[in-house]
Symmetry: C2
Subunit: 140 residues, 2 copies
Amino acid sequence: MTRANEAWESLMKAYAVLMKQFNAEDVWGELTMREYDVLYQLSKCDSPLRMSELNRHVLLSQPALSRMVDRLVERGYLDRCPDPGDRRGVRLSLTPAGRETQRAIGRPHARSVTRALSVLTPEELEQLAAITGKLSQSEE
Amino acid sequence: MTRANEAWESLMKAYAVLMKQFNAEDVWGELTMREYDVLYQLSKCDSPLRMSELNRHVLLSQPALSRMVDRLVERGYLDRCPDPGDRRGVRLSLTPAGRETQRAIGRPHARSVTRALSVLTPEELEQLAAITGKLSQSEE
DNA sequence: TTAGAGTAGATGCAAACGCATAAGTCACTA
DNA sequence: TAGTGACTTATGCGTTTGCATCTACTCTAA
């Protein structure tokens, strides 16, 4: 077992443990964690996002994301407009209600994240962000 | 946005990017990645594992894991025996076929992991393993 | 020894998922 | 400018998931 494999296994375990912990917290209201993730990704962009772009950031198959967007539009959290520059594509953006819901859930969730990572020193937080950043950049 | 939140977001992104990449690779054969994870977790234990213990390491709800185990037993990869010490529980272990399948998939997958993490220096691998280890230990 | 609380795993059911593929659009080339 | 292959999103369909709940067993203490 190489160091790389140990590191990956350790990362996966941390991900699983923390995800389960966050999921168990009572902050998600009307959304699932996956739905929140979609709203969160969109909240970071000021210009509308393409479905395929969003799909790169979300751990869902393309059809599953397509249908999740359906439901979120239906429920009034998202707008889906045709892309004027490319008539195959769509442009996704948060509605005001979607933005508000994202914020209402995001605030307590962000506090949970801070609390869960409070066992790390500031140096470790920097290192973690730098190393994982390097990992995702190298593959896309 | 605190450093902790940035670090967590970066970790999630690395997880998503690498998971998608691994999933796209043609090494999984007759198993899904989630099923492989169950076989892998069991391959690390010499003594049979309790369902609840296994559930801590796998990102699945208890009912979903229960049924996945059903299917893996049905397909001949797992043995499920009643626990003699606690008649509520079961003891899970790999069959020879299960162990062999895990190894056959694990070898090329381990190489993919090594390749994907080869952008990190040995020091970074050590740091990543140490930091993520600290994270999962603190929460269980 | 037994009542009550807690824990382990299974099951009914509706919702969500992934795979394969369709339908529409783009871009390049002959 | 018609043809071909790539790209983007949607849809059919069988499988898997999560939530709520159930059954069975254990543990504690009166």
